[in-house]
């Protein structure tokens, strides 16, 4: 039996760490909305004008994308049995997620 693709623990830990980051960001957004008593366009715009908030938002998106990658690969490992099919689908998932990352940067800093 071939064992020792030593990334099992790393992915398991990453899945948990990224989940914590996403939870914290969600709480942060919730608090901000409560603080402002709802969000209008002006406060939304002011919020995203701050570099710190953009960095934190990017961190959230990076966590989301990595979390999605680990989860999608887990699903493919269970259900896409032929190695070639699994690899192709994994590459497709990576391409989509990397594209999303690029798009995130454009949204956050494109109009700076």
């Amino acid at each position: 039996m071939a064992v020792g693709a030593h990334y099992g623990a790393r992915d398991w830990l990453a899945q948990r760490v990224t989940a914590v980051v996403m939870t914290l960001y969600t709480l942060l957004i919730g608090l901000i909305v409560l603080w402002h008593g709802g969000l209008d366009y002006a406060s939304w715009k002011a919020m995203f004008a701050s570099t710190a908030f953009r960095v934190v938002s990017f961190l959230f998106m990076a966590s989301l994308l990595f979390h999605a990658w680990v989860g999608m690969r887990n699903i493919l490992m269970d259900y896409a049995k032929p190695t070639s099919l699994r690899l192709s689908l994994q590459v497709a998932v990576v391409c989509v997620l990397v594209a999303y990352a690029g798009w995130t940067v454009q949204v956050l800093w494109g109009h700076a």
Binding site: M1, V3, G4, A5, H6, Y7, G8, A9, R10, D11, W12, L13, N74, M77, D78, Y79
Partner: protein, 231 residues
């Protein structure tokens, strides 16, 4: 009492079928295994495994009304009629309620289910303190009945790659043993996206274990040890 039992002889039948039985039980027939033995006295073609008839050998694990368990420790009073009996899910059927356990035992053997210790043995025996011995409680009682592994979706999808709850519980039984000296190799052997980390804590294994053991906790402990070793 009414039963619907999975019947299949791969050498003769094109496909499996469910056979209905209605049988008058004796007042002394208390457990499901008693009823099966009585059924076999009427229809001797019905096949199932059993040995100890008291929940220690693990031979008569089967799917009872949709749930894995031991026939010999399942009280007939707890069962809704007709009682539907099927072989353990996910393993190849040899005949009727008998499944081929090779894959299950292959996974069990892959975790080195024995103590590894090259130190010269003391004159009498390798002693443990009562505390060290206590750490094996909830682990050594496993009877390898396979109720847990064959209820685990991760084992259904990857029986060749995922060790499964029974194998992992036993892996932890040797990891936790103070007399063992093979900890690092044991963790290496499991640090793999399939062998250990296919477990997603669904806890079907805990739900069905007829000995009341908790493979999910053992698996969690192994995961923690591997992560601790890495960070």
């Amino acid at each position: 009492m009414r039963f619907r039992i999975y019947r299949y002889d791969p050498e003769q039948d094109a496909k499996p079928r469910l056979q209905e039985y209605d049988i008058a039980l004796d007042p002394h027939d208390r457990m499901l295994l008693d009823a099966l033995i009585r059924l076999k006295s009427v229809d001797d073609s019905l096949s199932f495994r059993r040995s100890c008839r008291e929940g220690v050998c693990g031979s008569d694990a089967m799917n009872i009304n949709g749930r894995n368990g031991l026939a010999c420790t399942t009280n007939l009073k707890t069962l809704a009629e007709p009682v539907e009996l099927r072989p353990l899910p996910g393993l190849p059927v040899v005949r009727d309620l008998i499944v081929d356990m090779s894959q299950f035992f292959k996974q069990y053997h892959s975790i080195k289910p024995y103590l590894v210790n090259d130190e010269p043995p003391p004159e009498r025996e390798r002693l443990q303190s009562p505390g060290e011995r206590e750490r094996l409680d909830g682990l050594y009682e496993c009877i390898l009945c396979a109720c847990c592994s064959t209820a685990c979706p991760s084992f259904w999808w990857n029986p060749d790659k995922f060790v499964g709850p029974a194998g992992l519980l036993n892996a932890y039984r040797f990891i936790a043993d103070s007399r063992d000296r093979d900890l690092n190799d044991r963790l290496d052997n499991l640090e793999d996206p399939y062998r250990l980390f296919r477990c997603h804590s669904i806890m079907n294994c805990v739900d069905v274990c007829p000995k009341g053991l908790n493979p999910t906790r053992a698996i969690g402990n192994i995961k923690t040890m591997i992560v601790k070793r890495a960070v």
